[in-house]
């Protein structure tokens, strides 16, 4: 079927199937799944600027659905989410402006593609290493499985970063953390959202867990709330710049709606470190897909 805005021909069932798959990932891992959906669209032949904008549009609707499910389960820290938005929105806009600059220079595909590969590989390897360590700690010290985080030095260092004003996050069980640390996490992940068309969850979730000390299950729910905001803003910004094919996004979302519910229900049965170990495989797979398309 032809999608005339992006000027590509793709089977709509492939798009709905991709949506279903990333919907399950979104609900289960608390990520928008953009880092998988984006490479899949790119691989299928969608121009990279449309991949970025359309991926954000698709994630907007899907993350709202998954976020509502997690909020009902009490997994969203609203205070943390609202503070993070202060960094997320400017970050998204800076990323979108960089895409516009790359479009005018004419090397968007290479820059965005290789950025994907580097970032996804780094995130995947780090998360795998950390979750394996955490699982060993759990076995030897018998700590609560959902709260085991092995990178204590990073956590302690960030907590020592007490640049005022400080804020308490009772829902997450965090006594005191600098507002600047929260805004920094939002800004970095917002930049990635605007530049790569991802919700930023694959980076925001590890940063919330390791830098801010948020429990994994709260990080999952809060992250989905953040994705809805950053992807919504990114959709408007990229649509104004002509980078969104909403027909592709709507088709993908039909599959994502059902996948998100199944994924969210699955979080009840898997512990924090195990969830992070499973999560670590996905960025590596996405990096390989992007690399194949660039080299091909």
């Amino acid at each position: 079927m032809e999608f005339p805005i992006a000027q590509v021909i793709i089977n709509p069932f492939v798009l709905a199937g991709t949506g279903f798959f990333v919907g399950v990932l979104g609900g289960f891992f608390g990520v928008g799944g953009g880092f998988i959906a984006g490479p899949l669209m790119f691989w299928a032949g969608v121009p990279i600027n449309f991949v970025v904008g359309t991926d954000l549009a698709h994630m907007t609707g899907k993350s709202i659905v998954a976020g509502r499910v997690h909020r009902a389960m009490g997994h969203v820290d609203m205070r943390l989410a609202v503070l993070m938005i202060l960094g997320t929105i400017p970050g998204v806009e800076i990323g979108a402006q960089i895409i516009e600059h790359l479009k005018s220079v004419g090397n968007t595909e290479e820059v965005v593609g290789f950025s994907y590969v580097i970032i996804l590989t780094a995130i995947g390897l780090f998360t795998a290493w950390e979750s394996l360590r955490a699982m060993r700690v759990r076995q030897t010290e018998r700590l609560a499985s959902q709260d085991v985080i092995s990178v204590n030095s990073l956590l302690v260092r960030s907590r020592l970063f007490r640049l005022p004003p400080l804020v308490r996050l009772p829902v997450s069980g965090v006594e005191e953390v600098s507002i600047w640390a929260i805004i920094f996490v939002g800004a970095v992940t917002g930049l990635l959202a605007g530049l790569l068309g991802v919700g930023g969850g694959f980076l925001r979730m590890p940063l919330m867990i390791y830098v801010l000390g948020i429990p994994t299950h709260v990080a999952v729910g809060t992250d989905l709330f953040e994705i809805a905001i950053s992807a919504g803003f990114g959709t408007i910004s990229h649509a104004l710049k002509g980078n969104v094919d909403i027909l592709i996004a709507l088709t993908m979302q039909t599959g994502a709606a059902i996948g998100a519910q199944i994924g969210a229900a699955g979080t009840r049965y898997v512990s924090g470190p195990s969830m992070r170990l499973l999560f670590s495989i996905l960025p590596i797979v996405a990096a390989v897909l992007v690399l194949l398309r660039i080299l091909g």
Partner: protein
């Protein structure tokens, strides 16, 4: 797994019909907006994706309650 199978068997055909109808009737107006009025296209796109997300979720929940799986 039973919930998933039942949901997929009812929801799948309905959604398939829906997206073929939506793609057929929305294609031309959206293409026109894309080229002629980008701010309106951006607004329409955002509203469409949010509305569809919420409606699909409500429909799925209603369906599950209706068949006694939630």
């Amino acid at each position: 797994m039973r919930s998933l199978a039942i949901e997929l068997s009812i929801y799948g055909p309905l959604v398939t019909v829906y997206f073929f109808l939506a793609l057929r009737y929305a294609k031309e107006p959206l293409l026109q907006l894309y080229y002629e009025n980008p701010p309106l296209y951006a607004t329409a796109s955002t509203i469409a994706i949010i509305a569809q997300g919420v409606l699909l979720e409500m429909f799925t929940s209603w369906l599950l309650r209706r068949i006694g799986l939630r």
